[in-house]
Assembly symmetry: C2
Homo-oligomer: 241 residues x 2
């Protein structure tokens, strides 16, 4: 995988604390928060949500929810945050419930990274449930790509790295990959792909979520193409591309 | 690999830009700069250097070298830096040359991380040529450990991650490993270990060094126990432990 200057670059940023090392302005940035923000975002849009508005704080979530008469959602420490109506589980956003509605979602890690990357050519969000939509888009655009892992309070995490690696393995021939994080993530995905759920049992976030009985959430979030839509960030909102 | 609170923690910090996320003060920190600073440091000490003084700037290197009548060494962009006498290759530091002498060494990535970690219980340096000495020490001490990758201008690199993974794979049963970077590094090492040199051919730093004809350096730096001594950082100097 050497530099091929005629191809756009494909890089992986393993933590928001490393984003300043990348040329965000000249890249498409994929925000990755597999457990569970970006899995829930594509699920809501796939099931017909009009849009998803990602916000940083619970207060902002409440205020925008009132203004727009929207559904408010978000968790802190694994519980629905005080003042909000719904949580972070993709299973809460069935078509019956979400179709035609606006969802205001507050998450800590994913939203933080998204707001750090607003200089990008375009921001999209990715997770296993929409991996094909993301990969098709990136190949079709043919621009530099940064796969941005939301991580966990800036600490590198397994699930976001695995998704980045899955994307690298799918689309690398269309890009120049001169980034050790990308090569590492791809190798990690290769080691894990036969049973991602089993592999994830060793990871720190799995333990956190499993304590809340969320193993079905995790399985869904690791399964390709269950909600295969492309969330595009435009004017502060995520809409189906 | 779940948390076992009766064991000390073993964590991997993939870049100096992430070090603030770790509890440096209550840990032993292993500085890892495989290509080539920490490989050269253990080689010089193994071959009888009295001590190695790591400094950040070429100017400091020149000044301390004069004061101590020491050997000065360091590279910038793959060339011996102006004003210094020697480079970063471990092959420059044979016993004939270095025994009994003081080496003042300036490197960018490794030295930077080392000086960021001076609050640690103890700093040591590690690379494949002294992996057994490092592992034996960490197990014997039984304290929290941060394997600190020097990386490349804060960007995560392959060789330092692989060394961290090799250490995790050797000593993990003595520690609680609740760190996705550690688990990821270990898996990466498992994928690479049958032929580290071949695996490294895909990595960004390999390309940089190979352009300078340094493939023999790389092979040496990836080979276990060629200079199996423990460099301990005390009062600004690295001495053989």
């Amino acid at each position: 995988m050497s530099v091929e200057s005629n191809k756009p670059k494909l890089e992986v940023c393993l933590s928001p604390a490393l984003l300043h090392l990348f040329d965000v302005k000249n890249s498409i940035v994929v925000i990755i928060d597999v457990l569970r923000a970006t899995s829930t975002i594509c699920t809501a849009l796939h099931n017909g949500a009009a849009k998803v508005i990602p916000v940083a704080s619970v207060e902002e979530c409440v205020n925008i929810g009132k203004q727009l008469n929207a559904i408010t959602a978000g968790e802190r420490d694994g519980q629905i945050a005080a003042g909000l109506e719904h949580g972070n589980s993709p299973f809460e956003y069935s078509r019956d419930f979400i179709e035609g509605k606006v969802l205001v979602l507050t998450t800590t890690n994913g939203t933080k990274l998204l707001h750090m990357a607003t200089d990008a050519i375009q921001i999209v969000t990715g997770s296993f449930p929409n991996i094909s939509a993301v990969c098709d888009y990136l190949v079709a655009e043919g621009k530099n790509v940064i796969l941005g892992c939301a991580a966990w309070k800036d600490r590198v995490n397994m699930e976001d790295t695995l998704f980045a690696g899955a994307v690298v393995s799918r689309i690398k021939e269309h890009f120049a990959v001169d980034c050790d994080s990308a090569i590492g993530a791809e190798n990690l995905y290769a080691a894990a792909k036969d049973d991602l759920f089993e592999f994830m049992k060793g990871a720190s976030h799995f333990q956190r979520l499993a304590r809340f009985g969320l193993e079905e959430d995790i399985k869904y979030c690791l399964t390709p193409d269950g909600a295969n839509v492309l969330p595009l960030f435009k004017n502060g909102e995520l809409i189906a591309g």
